[in-house]
């Protein structure tokens, strides 16, 4: 990587470019421009890296998380509730009863004070009070009550944790002053959740893309096309593969056996061999390869569709699992169970196998063409293994973000809620004589959804049987060791591969990850290469409506595939066009089509994240609008000249233009991994030739946030950068501007953090200067014997005395005073009074002047009572008191029996046992803060933080993470 060059190029502007600039610029400036630059022939964009801050302003550092969450709460949640299988609830007990969801909303973040009152809440309050920052989900419903039809709006069905800084968060779009008022750090990136007072991040999960054909070699060495189909109704996986090198079969979990593929085609109505051969390909080589498969049905005695269906129907596994848990109807039935095996087979073929290819009214034409295309590719690859897909290629990967994971979870919980409701309705309606007409709404139990969300996020276990999903460690506690560790965590990508796998493929750096994934930032050891980090400007897309694109494709001259014959589809002059993995049609002028579609995107007529990729080997055009693709912005070049001009840069910096406008007018565009294959991208302006289509914004954007902190990374041996990425996160410094108020369980705060003397551009972008970590040390490197221990530093004592490396360690200790079922509750008790003092009459008046010294006076006599010294009268330690090992911080006592309900209510004094919270630690420390508050359950919560000052060098177990300056 080249050093970020400070090219001070000419600020020229080509006269012809002026017309592109729109009308809003200063004419004086224009005049200046013309005068100073007429002689300069070509525009040279100086300091194009200055675009970076605008990108971060537009998207924010953690935009991918927030975007995906926004998408979920605004769009996807509605799709789920409106999905055919969820929308309506009926009861078996009463055919007239129904409940229909008409709409769903996510409200404002609030917290339930008790069963009836809920109040608005800030994230900061949630952190302190160990609450969950969540908002109610309400639905609009129409249902029958007795004979009436009732319409109700705003029925709460549960609470959903709200992502900080998302559109539903109260912090969204607030100014710095407003944030400060809410005690929030303005530099906090957001994108995480607060569940029971703990900040948790839903890590990005890397997966193979859905609904795409991936041709791979299975473990027997057969060429196999694996297709993971995923729709809102069903997620499944099918394989079409060459068995033993001869015949092609279809494998699906639902079918007990592998089924010959031609039988499948016949079952879908393609009875004529001629037609099949045409579809698959009629070149002699193709025929040879396909002939054994084609003969197969005749050995089985299958010629007609009915025969084929019967054959498949017999193979369908007869398990209830297919119908989903719970009673039918509201359960997750994948298909309607039909009377005969033929019908059942037809159902399965239509809606289970390759279910992402839509079959409407049993018109299997599209699916047949799709299957034939897959067979063709499998056979071609069988002959020429170089056409195998690379699983590790990043274009085949999708990142699953918080929004997607939450939407799966919500779908599951919502279905569970409906099953519950149905059960209740069945019960309620089947009662023979009801005094009141049954009202379902009263049966809604909100904690199904509320607790479901809290459980999943708090533990990180996504266990959704319905979707055969069982994942651990989806969420992690946001590490607040330093500001950078927090940022680094938000860009982390977890891979689904098991860590024990010794394979190197998924671990190694893929060229296709350039600019998308940070090449340096990965942990060492078992997770090496599996846990990755997003590059600085990488963006993860969210789902986009594909229907408009489909229509547009036809407008651009695509021929509908269902109207074409096999010969036409496979003609060498035609390119197949795929939209999100589905065949849309054919086009005979692919280059023109691709160019037009891109042009429309640059004109802003097509969504900015739609990718168009021309695959010459497969003779196909792939259009993608789905979510989870990684993409990055690039400068568009035409005829070797970037469309970005210095004038635009100036207008950007003076605020006359925004980056969004630049994207809209096609100066900058987002390109995903697949589309990058069609691009020729120049690193710098000096390298631009006529062939180049794009130019990098700046080479520094290949690195991620954490690696971006390293000065002169290109002068380092590569693993050093990786080590620094791990260490930079541990650097002690400032966590957040509100660090002393946050009451984290452990806070390492540097007393005198410094801005780094050597900075990188990334540092300025991530506000590292405002929340620095570490100090600038002046280091003498000695090469002579004496102190030359490897990896050690001799520190100057006077510097330590003066505050070098000094840090504060604040540790939180907390306890809650619980109320028990039998009415008893935990108690706080003041320090025990000295027995001797009590006898001499002093015990009578420890009231008025029991301040700091007087209170301690009576206690200090008895050495046994020394551990109570820090306590105030109320049994909670006083701010500023010294704590030693064993000192009591909160003198709590709990009732001995908590289960006995027969206990006289206050009649006889409940026996208590002491359950104090004591300080443990080798070194004494002081009480810094005490907070008394209540949590969601209404229990009183006492938190305190104690601090100890550590001097640099005496802090053990923490090396000095040196951010070396190169050279």
């Amino acid at each position: 990587m080249a050093p970020p060059s400070a090219e001070n190029c000419s600020s020229g502007i080509k006269a012809s470019n002026i017309s592109n600039l729109g009308s809003n610029f200063f004419f004086t400036e224009l005049a200046d421009q013309l005068q100073e630059d007429v002689s300069k022939p070509v525009t040279d964009v100086a300091d194009k890296w200055k675009l970076l801050p605008h990108f971060l302003q537009l998207r924010g550092l953690m935009r991918q998380h927030i975007d995906s969450f926004d998408f979920f709460v605004n769009r996807e949640i509605k799709d789920i509730v409106n999905a055919a299988s969820n929308r309506e609830l009926r009861s078996e007990a009463d055919p007239k009863f129904w409940l229909r969801y008409t709409d769903v909303h996510v409200g404002e973040p609030s917290v339930d004070d008790d069963a009836y009152v809920s109040s608005r809440v800030t994230p900061f309050q949630c952190r302190l009070r160990d609450c969950t920052y969540s908002a109610p989900i309400t639905v609009d419903v129409r249902y029958t009550r007795g004979r009436q039809i009732v319409v109700k709006r705003g029925v709460m069905i549960g609470r959903i944790p709200i992502m900080l800084r998302s559109c539903k968060c109260i912090l969204a779009g607030r100014s710095e002053a407003e944030l400060a008022e809410k005690k929030e750090c303005p530099y906090d990136p957001g994108g995480y959740f607060i569940v029971k007072g703990v900040e948790r991040v839903i890590l990005m999960q890397e997966q193979l893309s859905k609904n795409r054909v991936i041709i791979e070699e299975d473990n027997k060495g057969n060429v196999s096309a694996s297709i993971t189909s995923s729709t809102h109704d069903r997620k499944g996986r099918s394989n079409i593969f060459v068995k033993n090198g001869t015949k092609v079969y279809l494998k699906n979990n639902l079918l007990g056996d592998d089924v010959p593929i031609v039988v499948v085609l016949k079952a879908m109505g393609m009875q004529s061999d001629q037609e099949i051969v045409c579809m698959v390909g009629d070149s002699p080589e193709m025929l040879d390869a396909f002939a054994p498969s084609l003969e197969e049905p005749y050995h089985l005695g299958i010629c007609t569709q009915a025969q084929a269906l019967r054959y498949i129907g017999a193979k369908i596994r007869n398990t209830t699992q297919n119908r989903g848990p719970g009673p039918s109807g509201m359960g997750f039935a994948f298909y309607r169970r039909a009377s005969s095996p033929e019908e059942e087979a037809r159902e399965v073929l239509a809606s289970v196998i390759l279910n992402h290819v839509p079959v409407i009214n049993f018109d299997f034409r599209t699916k047949c063409i799709f299957v034939c295309h897959v067979i063709r590719r499998v056979l071609l690859t069988h002959r020429d293994r170089s056409q195998l897909d690379d699983k590790d290629y990043y274009g085949n990967k999708r990142l699953e973000l918080a929004g997607q994971l939450l939407s799966l979870l919500f779908e599951d919980l919502f279905k569970r809620l409906n099953v519950q409701l149905k059960k209740q309705a069945d019960q309620g309606l089947s009662k023979p004589n009801r005094t009141q007409s049954f009202d379902v709404i009263k049966c809604i139990r909100t904690d199904t959804i509320t607790n479901g969300f809290i459980q999943a996020i708090a533990t990180g276990n996504w266990k959704l049987q319905r979707f055969r999903m069982d994942r651990q460690g989806v969420t992690q506690v946001l590490t607040r060791l330093s500001y950078i560790s927090c940022l680094g965590m938000m860009t982390r990508i977890n891979s689904q591969f098991e860590k024990t796998r010794k394979v190197s493929g998924p671990r190694s750096l893929q060229p296709s990850q350039w600019g998308m994934i940070c090449p340096a930032d990965t942990p060492e050891g078992e997770a090496c290469g599996l846990v990755k980090n997003l590059a600085l400007l990488a963006h993860v897309t969210t789902d986009e409506e594909s229907e408009p694109i489909r229509k547009l494709c036809f407008d651009l001259g695509i021929e509908d595939v269902t109207l074409l014959s096999g010969a036409e589809i496979n003609a060498s002059s035609n390119y197949l066009v795929f939209l999100n993995g589905l065949i849309v049609g054919c086009h005979s002028r692919p280059l023109r089509f691709v160019r037009l579609l891109r042009l429309l995107r640059r004109k802003g007529l097509v969504a900015e994240f739609v990718s168009v990729c021309l695959h010459e080997v497969q003779r196909a055009i792939y259009i993608a609008t789905d979510g989870g693709r990684v993409c990055r912005p690039l400068l568009v070049c035409e005829k070797g000249v970037p469309r970005l001009t210095n004038m635009m840069m100036r207008q950007l910096s003076s605020g006359l233009l925004t980056l969004a406008e630049l994207i809209r007018c096609g100066v900058v565009e987002y390109v995903d991994v697949n589309e990058e294959n069609n691009c020729l991208i120049a690193l710098a302006q000096t390298q631009l030739t006529v062939k180049h289509t794009h130019m990098e914004i700046d080479p520094l954007t290949v690195l991620g946030v954490v690696a971006g902190l390293i000065p002169y990374p290109h002068h380092n041996q590569s693993p050093r950068n990786t080590y620094q990425c791990a260490m930079g996160k541990q650097a002690m410094g400032t966590v957040a501007l509100n660090q002393y108020e946050r009451l984290d369980s452990l806070l390492y705060a540097m007393v005198y953090p410094q801005k780094p003397l050597v900075t990188t551009r990334t540092l300025d972008l991530v506000n590292f200067n405002e929340l620095p970590g570490g100090q600038n040390a002046i280091v003498a490197v000695m090469s002579y014997s004496g102190y030359d221990i490897e990896d050690a530093v001799v520190l100057n004592k006077a510097s330590l005395d003066r505050g070098f490396g000094r840090c504060l360690i604040l540790r939180k200790h907390q306890t809650s005073l619980r109320k028990y079922a039998n009415g008893a509750a935990d108690n706080l008790r003041g320090p025990p009074e000295d027995t001797a003092a009590a006898c001499s009459g002093m015990g009578g008046e420890p009231s008025a002047a029991q301040s700091n010294s007087a209170g301690a006076y009576s206690i200090r006599r008895d050495p046994r009572l020394r551990r109570f010294e820090a306590l105030d009268k109320d049994g909670i330690c006083q701010v500023g008191e010294r704590l030693e090992n064993g000192s009591v911080m909160i003198n709590k006592e709990s009732p001995i029996s908590v289960a006995d309900l027969n206990m006289g209510s206050g009649a006889d004094p409940t026996p208590f046992k002491p359950t104090p919270l004591s300080y443990k630690g080798p070194a004494p420390s002081h009480v810094d803060q005490v907070l008394i508050t209540s949590n969601e359950g209404g229990d009183l919560l006492v938190k305190g933080s104690a601090d100890a000052t550590a001097y640099g060098g005496t802090v053990t177990g923490r090396g000095v993470a040196a951010r070396r300056n190169g050279a």
């Binding site: 500023g880 810094d928 601090d947």
Partner: protein, 341 residues
């Protein structure tokens, strides 16, 4: 007697907070002893014990106490009382501290009052700025100027915080009512009340008691120009030689000869010698310039924190070195006389 030398001291520069002198006719051992004593053993006064009554500032007690400790304190009138006159608190027969071994200071700052003061000063300076500034919520800076020293038993305030290390610095930065050493910023509704006990100590124990910010020595450089080789140089080469020195030690005189104009500025960077090697017409020639260190002459540069003047530091340090030697001498005499080790 041969080889007997008497160390000499010549002062090159003397300011309140800075001294530059040459110690000559002695060895590195003596020079280093002097340097180390100046840094670590000249006693000064510094805040050592702080008891907080109120602290609602953003910094916690430990943090503030540390900052207070680093504020240099000095004697107002060394003829009345010097820091050296104080007893060591460990030797004093009082319980914890008394006026013989310590000085008490107090800090009591409230945002409101301080804000009004500042507004007054600013208003006065800028010709009556709006008086509403007090409620503006701008933070105020608590500085060493807010420290109040408690008088001793003779009702004399003989110690003051050294707001500036020298008069020159004060003239440059303005009077201590608005300047001084920053302790903490206070926001609205915040206040600090504390008493601090300053005790005598030495830098060996904690750097806050060190009177020196910097105390260094270097051997005086000896730069010799080889006349013969110099003659062989072209004018361009001479210019090259002059330009290579980062501290401009050399100069071209009117007869276009290189002269060593400011030998004292040399930092032993070896640039000139490296260049001299390339300027040789014959590898066996002597280099045109040679930089060596005079091992008998030490150029000292001492900068103080303001707790003592630079002169005092050197003076005290020499006294201390002397007393250490005298101590050894008396013990030796004692042993010689009694025969008891």
């Amino acid at each position: 007697m041969p080889n007997v030398r008497a160390p000499k001291l010549e002062i090159l520069e003397l300011k309140d907070d800075f001294i530059k002198f040459i110690l000559s006719d002695t060895d590195a051992s003596v020079a280093n002893a002097l340097r180390r004593v100046m840094i670590a053993e000249v006693p000064t006064l510094a805040i050592d014990l702080v008891s907080f009554e109120v602290n609602s500032s953003v910094l916690n007690d430990e943090y503030l106490a540390h900052r207070l400790g680093l504020i240099p304190l000095r004697s107002v009138n060394p003829r009345y009382k010097k820091v050296a006159d104080l007893k060591d608190f460990r030797d004093c027969d009082c319980d914890s501290h008394c006026s013989r071994c310590s000085v008490e200071l107090a800090l009591d700052v409230r945002y409101q009052t301080k804000r009004q003061q500042v507004a007054l000063v600013e208003g006065g300076r800028e010709g009556g700025m709006e008086a509403g500034m007090g409620e503006g919520g701008l933070p105020v800076n608590v500085t060493s100027a807010d420290l109040v020293v408690t008088p001793d038993e003779d009702q004399q305030v003989w110690v003051e915080p050294a707001h500036y290390s020298s008069g020159a610095e004060r003239d440059r930065l303005g009077d201590p009512s608005s300047g001084g050493i920053s302790i903490v910023h206070l926001g609205p509704e915040q206040s600090i009340r504390l008493t601090a006990i300053a005790k005598k100590g030495i830098g060996k124990e904690h750097a806050k008691w060190s009177p020196c910010a910097v105390a260094t020595y270097t051997n005086e450089p000896v730069i010799t120009l080889n006349k013969e080789e110099h003659g062989k140089l072209s004018l361009a080469q001479k210019k090259q030689l002059i330009d290579c020195c980062p501290t401009k030690v050399f100069r071209l005189d009117e007869r276009e000869n290189v002269t060593v104009a400011r030998p004292g500025k040399c930092i032993y960077c070896q640039e000139c010698q490296a260049l001299a090697k390339t300027l040789k017409s014959d590898p066996d020639d002597d280099p045109v310039v040679q930089v060596t260190a005079n091992e008998e002459r030490f150029v000292f540069a001492v900068e103080t924190t303001g707790a003592l003047t630079a002169g005092e530091v050197v003076e005290h340090a020499l006294e201390i070195v002397l007393s250490k030697i005298t101590e050894v001498q008396t013990q030796l005499v004692h042993i010689a006389r009694t025969g008891v080790v």
